[in-house]
């Protein structure tokens, strides 16, 4: 669900390059100080006297600053200006952390303002959350936590103690929820629903693609008609998937067909709906072998594959939930990404059509009531 936007990828290289440059500068400083160069000795001694917690906060702010500066070309107008100001601000604060005594309060304000601004931008739909942005917020959250820990304890009243204990976890939790809400409220065009990413395709199908899609539908319908009875499917090697109270559809998978590619005679799975009179065959599912390996789409935009990302899978009871933007799942479940799949619905699938990622809700209700 949260990918790396192509124009943001350079930020990873810039962050790594910054760490290498910082290390090289420190080595050079050490060499110069060893040779008794006055200013280098002073800088080295100041650096050495700085606590590790301050040094780490400084490096994290420098990394965030560089990421903001690198991302300026991929943003427009006000956002680009804010990135410029933000980037230089973080670099100044990162350097100031080692060499000055006034940096802590401005750093806390700068970090909080940056994180809050990102959440506002995402919730408003002005920025699409991607992994670079989310990783940057994680870096800033840790820098904020470190900076807050450097605070001199004031009067030990209970409200102050409680605020010190909850402020940072609250900030981290609100940030996570904000990014999540923003991402779900403003999905890009390639999200069928939360967790399903669609194959990029052309906007309009050609007449040839319409014919090919119709052929795929009729071939699939003809091929799987023999499996109306689930017992026949099981005898042919299809294994029933786990029953889920959350999903009335059951997939019967056949591992012997794993290597077939969009072959109507060898679909990877059959889809049945749980109805009042038992299981009813409603379609087939074609699936590729590896995540990110999109299958052939003879119907162009009509036969668009999809893969499920950002879902937490629990083997206990075969259940699913969504992972958080920081890629965390509940204990006992793990994040998974499925290989691309293409459903072919042989029942009337309403407005969504015979190749949609999901079964139409009205069709689903009718099937369940039948």
């Amino acid at each position: 669900m949260y990918d790396i936007a192509g124009e943001h990828a350079a930020a990873i290289g810039a962050a790594i390059a910054l760490l290498v440059i910082v290390w090289l500068v420190l080595r050079a400083l050490s060499v110069l100080a060893h040779r008794r160069v006055g200013w280098a000795v002073a800088l080295r001694d100041t650096y050495r006297a700085t606590s590790a917690i301050t040094k780490l906060a400084a490096v994290l702010m420098l990394v965030s600053g560089v990421i903001h500066l690198v991302l300026i070309p991929s943003h427009e107008r006000i956002t680009a200006v804010l990135f410029l100001v933000n980037g230089f601000g973080f670099i100044v604060l990162g350097v100031a952390a080692v060499f000055t005594s006034w940096w802590r309060r401005p750093a806390v304000l700068w970090l909080v303002a940056t994180i809050v601004a990102y959440v506002v931008w995402v919730v408003a739909g002005w920025e699409t959350p991607d992994q670079i942005g989310i990783a940057c917020k994680l870096i800033e959250l840790v820098a904020l936590g470190l900076t807050l820990r450097l605070a001199q304890p004031g009067r030990r009243t209970w409200p102050r103690r409680i605020w010190r204990a909850v402020a940072f976890p609250l900030m981290a939790s609100v940030t996570t929820l904000g990014i999540w809400v923003g991402g779900l409220a403003h999905p890009d065009a390639l999200h069928a629903h939360a967790g399903a990413i669609l194959q990029p395709v052309a906007g309009v199908a050609t007449p040839e693609q319409r014919d090919a899609a119709a052929r795929l539908l009729s071939d699939t319908r003809a091929s799987i008609a023999r499996y109306q009875d689930p017992a026949v499917a099981i005898a042919a090697g299809f294994k029933p998937g786990a029953v889920s109270s959350a999903d009335p559809l059951r997939h019967f998978e056949n591992s012997a067909n794993a290597n077939a590619v969009l072959d109507p005679n060898h679909p990877q799975a059959l889809v049945y709906a749980q109805t009042t009179h038992g299981l009813q065959l409603i379609g087939a599912m074609y699936q590729m072998k590896r995540a990110g390996q999109w299958g052939p789409d003879p119907g162009g935009p009509l036969t668009q594959w999809h893969q499920h990302e950002g879902i937490c899978f629990s083997p206990f009871g075969f259940e699913f939930s969504f992972e958080t933007p920081f890629w965390t799942c509940p204990v006992g479940s793990t994040s998974i990404t499925t290989p691309p799949m293409l459903h072919v619905w042989i029942v009337d699938n309403g407005k969504l059509g015979p190749f949609a990622a999901d079964l139409d809700k009205t069709a689903e209700k009718q099937l369940q009531g039948s």
Binding site: Y2, I4, A42, T46, A49, T50, S51, I53, T54, L56, A97, V98, F99, T100, S101, Q131, I132, A135, L138, I139, L141, G145, L146, R149, L150, F168, P169, A172, S173, T176, L177, W180, S244, S245, A246, R290, A291, C312, S314, F316, G317, E319, F320, S321, F322, E323, T324, F326, W327, T328, C329, P330, V331, G332, S333, T334, S335, I336, T337, T338
Partner: protein
């Protein structure tokens, strides 16, 4: 801009306290992320009974991590041992998931959260300065 005493005084924390402090901040961050993961699973628990249990367990683990972080900061040896055990388990599980072809570790965010942060906490607590910070007076680390 002075580069001498005022800054040095303001930024200097006794070096033995740094490893527990940094580790506790990382553990609090992890606990916050776990708390949200646990809370977010509650709606799924309405229709998926397994996630009711997983969500409750996750929230309890997050609360335990907040407690451990607090006691790391107070340099309690038992907290250090518990955190080392938890982080080592988490790191090994993440490494195993990385090997499996299920797309569990794609991109910088899962790598930072599931590999770098547990590894950093482990390194801080196992390092010489980490051991020294938790050593009782009169014992050697």
């Amino acid at each position: 801009m002075s580069i001498t005493s005022p800054a040095v005084t303001a930024n200097t924390v006794p070096s033995t306290t740094n490893a527990p402090e940094i580790a506790s901040v990382l553990v609090v961050t992890q606990a916050s992320l776990s708390l949200v993961a646990g809370l977010s699973a509650i709606p799924f628990g309405i229709v998926e009974p397994g996630f009711r249990v997983l969500s409750l367990v996750t929230i309890l683990v997050a609360i335990a991590m907040f407690w451990l972080a607090r006691n790391l900061r107070r340099q309690r040896g038992w907290a250090r041992r518990w955190v080392i055990a938890l982080e080592a388990f988490s790191l090994v599980a993440s490494l195993l998931l990385t090997v499996l072809p299920i797309g569990a570790m794609r991109g910088p965010v899962p790598v930072l959260v599931n590999l770098v942060m547990p590894a950093a906490v482990l390194a801080l607590l196992i390092s010489r300065s980490g051991r020294a910070a938790f050593a009782r007076p009169g014992t050697t680390a």
